[in-house]
């Protein structure tokens, strides 16, 4: 964490108003970031945190010619006097929608883009050095669109690093990546910070990462910087955090309920362990998770020895599913989990009939999917995509919701559409174009489009992906309500907190095969399987396991209840197993 440079960031009384708006996004923000810091910037949607960070490399005010007052000095340059390209040599920026920031076909060209633009003759060495630094060597000739999401993000990071800037700004890495890839990105950022002295600024919602990796936290609220505090102190400002829709780490939330207000609460798993280890706990009975259901009757969806593969341009044929068999029954709430490329999305596409298996059969409601058109299966099955934008095919949310019903000439379409729109609280949004809504609203609208078809099977692909916590809870509630209306819900997700609190059955995919299948409580009990599938159980489960709770609680609520039900007698305590963490 010793800085190798002296590039400071100083923001004084920064005000900024986007062209065409009356309200200032930033309204007198003050901030100082020292060389070599690892800072997290947090704040609710629309608080101005992204605008603040875009002032570091001059995109504000040079790209958006809004009204700017105050002063920003980065590495000795006055931002309003310097050009974006001048500042970019000091500040690397990785955008939230990192996919759209990759402008070249191959990895090599992408990383060489900036050095070549600046006419650096040693651009080849720079590319290789940067790729080495991030352990990405070997990817040079790959096409960017054939990479996984995590790899793409690292390539965007490499591209930003290719000019060897002193300061690196990364916008919401954990929101777009699955937990394992987000962790990998953070590990690289930590190396860059610790071993190479770079100043790292991340915009982040997920406090678990902040607690583990960052030195200090900046809270942006209504266009001003409320405070900048060391990480432990910052994450103990529970009221300030909650007012901005930021959830403190699970371990902090548990400690708040169990330990009360005296003294600082733990913010990392290790701190939490140290504090809880002396407390007595109930070895107890499971009080959490959804009630288990015993599968009855005929399966609604049945995969029988299914194999599926696809071709790539330079990487040959990839097998996605390999001889997979699984049956899903009515009234089950199933989550499919697994790392990127484990075959979750493919499995879902096979149920819709958009893809057909290379080998084996997929049966949906008694119908073999190879014999029918996806349009016919759509009578029973609805598929809500990971990217809601792909579901908006009309120019208003209402028209999109009505599309299916109108196309099939259902009676009283208007009535049914009103019904769904009211059910999901979309009255105020129904005349707007779905593409222009916020991500959380888009997700809700896409669920409405799905439910309007009155399906018996709902397939959701990453419904909580890239959402901040407030929108996540909103979508969670929607899924619960949707579940009341339909027979079977299948969710493909990386979000193990969702799996822990919602599912009755958890299917773990790895390398195109099912490696674990059962109620979430049982699956979470076997951490080895999760590790194999590159998954990380929620913090509460890890804490419970480390404390020797068997079965480990799946939610904060359940964890707290365990503490609540026991007295102070130490004899009931099971012997804690403390790992290295």
């Amino acid at each position: 964490m010793t800085a190798t440079h002296n590039s400071r960031i100083d923001v004084e009384k920064l005000q900024f108003r986007y062209p065409g708006t009356d309200e200032a996004v930033l309204d007198g923000a003050d901030l100082a970031i020292e060389p070599g810091e690892f800072v997290a910037v947090i704040g609710g949607n629309g608080s101005g945190k992204t605008t603040l960070c875009k002032a570091f490399n001059g995109i504000i005010p040079h790209f958006y010619e809004g009204d700017m007052q105050g002063q920003v000095t980065v590495a000795g340059h006055d931002v309003s006097e310097s050009s974006v390209s001048e500042l970019s040599q000091h500040v690397g920026y990785v955008f939230q929608e990192f996919d759209n920031q990759l402008v070249s076909p191959t990895v090599f060209e992408e990383v060489a883009f900036a050095p070549m633009n600046y006419g650096h003759e040693d651009y080849r060495e720079r590319v290789h050095r940067t790729l080495d630094l991030l352990d990405l060597d070997g990817l040079e000739d790959r096409f960017v669109w054939e990479l996984s999401g995590g790899q793409k993000h690292l390539i965007a990071l490499a591209a930003a690093l290719s000019l060897d800037p002193d300061i690196l700004v990364v916008d919401e890495p954990a929101a777009q990546l699955d937990p394992v890839n987000a962790r990998e990105t953070y590990d690289r950022l930590a190396t860059l910070n610790e071993d190479h002295g770079k100043t790292v600024v991340t915009i982040e919602h997920q406090t678990e990462f902040i607690a583990e990796y960052c030195d200090s936290v900046v809270l942006v609220e209504d266009g001003v910087v409320s405070w900048k505090l060391p990480v432990e102190t910052a994450l103990n400002q529970l009221e300030d955090l909650r007012a901005q829709d930021v959830h403190p780490p699970q371990v902090t939330r548990i400690a708040e309920r169990v330990l009360g207000d005296d003294g600082p609460l733990p913010v990392t798993l290790a701190d939490g362990l140290a504090q809880f280890i002396d407390r007595s706990v109930d070895g107890g009975v499971r009080t959490d998770g959804a009630p288990e259901t015993n599968p009855t009757g005929e399966p609604v969806i049945s995969f029988d020895n299914v194999s599926h593969s696809y071709d790539t341009l330079r990487s040959g044929t990839k097998d996605v599913l390999d001889n997979l068999s699984v049956d899903l029954y009515p009234d089950e709430r199933v989550v499919l989990v697994g790392s990127n490329g484990a075959g979750k999305s493919t499995l879902i596409q096979l149920v819709t009939g958009l893809e057909t298996p290379d080998e084996g059969t997929v049966t949906v409601d008694g119908t073999d999917t190879t014999g029918v058109l996806p349009e016919q299966l759509a009578e029973e099955v609805v598929y809500v995509k990971q990217n809601p934008e792909e579901m908006f095919i009309d120019d208003s949310v209402r028209a999109d919701v009505a599309h299916y019903l109108a196309d099939r000439s259902y009676p009283n379409v208007e009535q049914r559409v009103d019904d769904v729109i009211e059910f999901l609280d979309l009255e105020d949004l129904q005349t707007r174009d779905g593409r222009l809504l916020s991500v959380g609203q888009q997700r809700r609208a896409s669920l409405a489009i799905g439910l309007a078809t009155n399906p018996s099977i709902v397939l959701l692909d990453e419904p909580t992906g890239s959402l901040d916590l407030a929108s996540r809870e909103e979508v969670g509630r929607t899924i619960n309500r949707a579940g009341e209306r339909v027979e079977t819900v299948v969710i493909a997700t990386h979000d193990l907190e969702l799996a822990a609190s919602w599912a009755t059955r958890m299917v773990v995919l790895d390398g195109g095969e099912v490696i674990a299948d059962g109620p979430p409580g049982d699956v979470f009990a076997d951490l080895g399987v999760l590790e194999q599938a590159n998954l990380r159980p929620p913090q509460v489960v890890r804490l419970g396991t480390e404390l020797g709770l068997d079965p480990a609680p799946l939610t904060v609520e359940a964890f707290v209840n365990r503490f609540g039900t026991t007295g102070s007698s130490a004899t009931e305590t099971t012997k804690p197993i403390v790992g290295e963490q």
């Binding site: 995109i59 920026y93 759209n100 669109w145 930003a160 958009l354 990217n387 792909e390 099939r408």
Partner: protein, 269 residues
């Protein structure tokens, strides 16, 4: 109907997508790819004019054979060749149909053959040249001929977006399918089914354009943050970009050789 199934496989979105991407990017092994892009572009300009110097069908057929060999060597996409063959044939057929009412259709088509041949020669040489040049070499070639970087970058970026657009478009067509009704009876040769798919695939263009437009903002910001506009006026950057190009004997040989072939055809046919 296995033949129909085969046809359907060959025209499936996946196959076409893979075929076009291969044309755009996988040209490294082809013969023309080894040549300097400036020479190729010059060669192309020459071959835009050459067909118009001849009227003799035999010479034109000879030229067509020559450029076809080059096209095969540069592994042109079968989909594009099919599309071109379809256009040529349907143009001729449509003239024939029209001239049934105005006079002798056979004579009309025969009169049009040389003209169509010339257009075909140009099309095939376009395919050969542009399939063998990747986005990088193409923009290098154009850049060295003085075309502004804004434009040459657009080519590389367009190529980069190609697979993304395919994906997006495919997904949107699927979204339409899942929310539409397929025709009850597909009709002869499933024509109703195909007409329905055609209609959906046209409608899917509009949402795709909106989605892409929305995204491009981030792209522009990202390019700016990595010195794109800096490169526009930067001598060193331009020099770096063009450093790889050089004229070698094989380039001159190919150019002269082609002219000799043309001269030979004109002399002996």
């Amino acid at each position: 109907m296995p033949a129909l199934d085969k046809l359907r496989d060959a025209t499936s979105v996946e196959t076409i997508k893979a075929d076009l991407l291969r044309t755009a990017y996988e040209n490294e092994g082809s013969f023309l790819h080894r040549l300097d892009p400036r020479v190729l572009l010059l060669w192309y300009v020459v071959f835009l004019f050459v067909p118009w110097l001849f009227y003799d069908t035999a010479v034109l057929l000879g030229l067509l054979a020559f450029v076809s060999v080059l096209a095969v060597l540069s592994r042109v996409s079968l989909f594009l060749v099919g599309l071109m063959a379809f256009t040529v044939a349907s143009t001729l057929a449509s003239y024939a149909v029209v001239t049934v009412f105005t006079g002798d259709p056979v004579a009309a088509v025969r009169a049009l053959v040389p003209f169509t041949l010339k257009l075909t020669i140009i099309s095939v040489s376009s395919l050969a040249v542009f399939s063998s040049m990747g986005p990088k070499t193409l923009s290098q070639g154009l850049r060295s001929l003085g075309i502004p970087r804004q434009f040459t970058f657009l080519i590389t970026y367009g190529y980069r977006m190609l697979p993304v657009l395919f994906e997006e478009y495919h997904d949107l067509v699927n979204s339409f399918r899942l929310r539409s009704t397929a025709p009850n009876s597909p009709g002869w040769f499933r024509w109703r089914h195909y007409a329905y798919l055609l209609k959906l695939s046209m409608r899917a263009f509009y949402p795709m354009i909106f989605n892409v437009a929305k995204r491009s903002r981030v792209t522009v910001e990202a390019m700016e943050a990595r010195g794109f506009s800096h490169s526009l006026n930067d001598e060193a950057s331009t020099k770096l970009r063009l450093a790889e190009m050089q004229l070698r004997p094989i380039d001159v040989g190919f150019f002269v050789g082609s002219l000799l072939v043309v001269a030979g055809l004109a002399r002996f046919l």
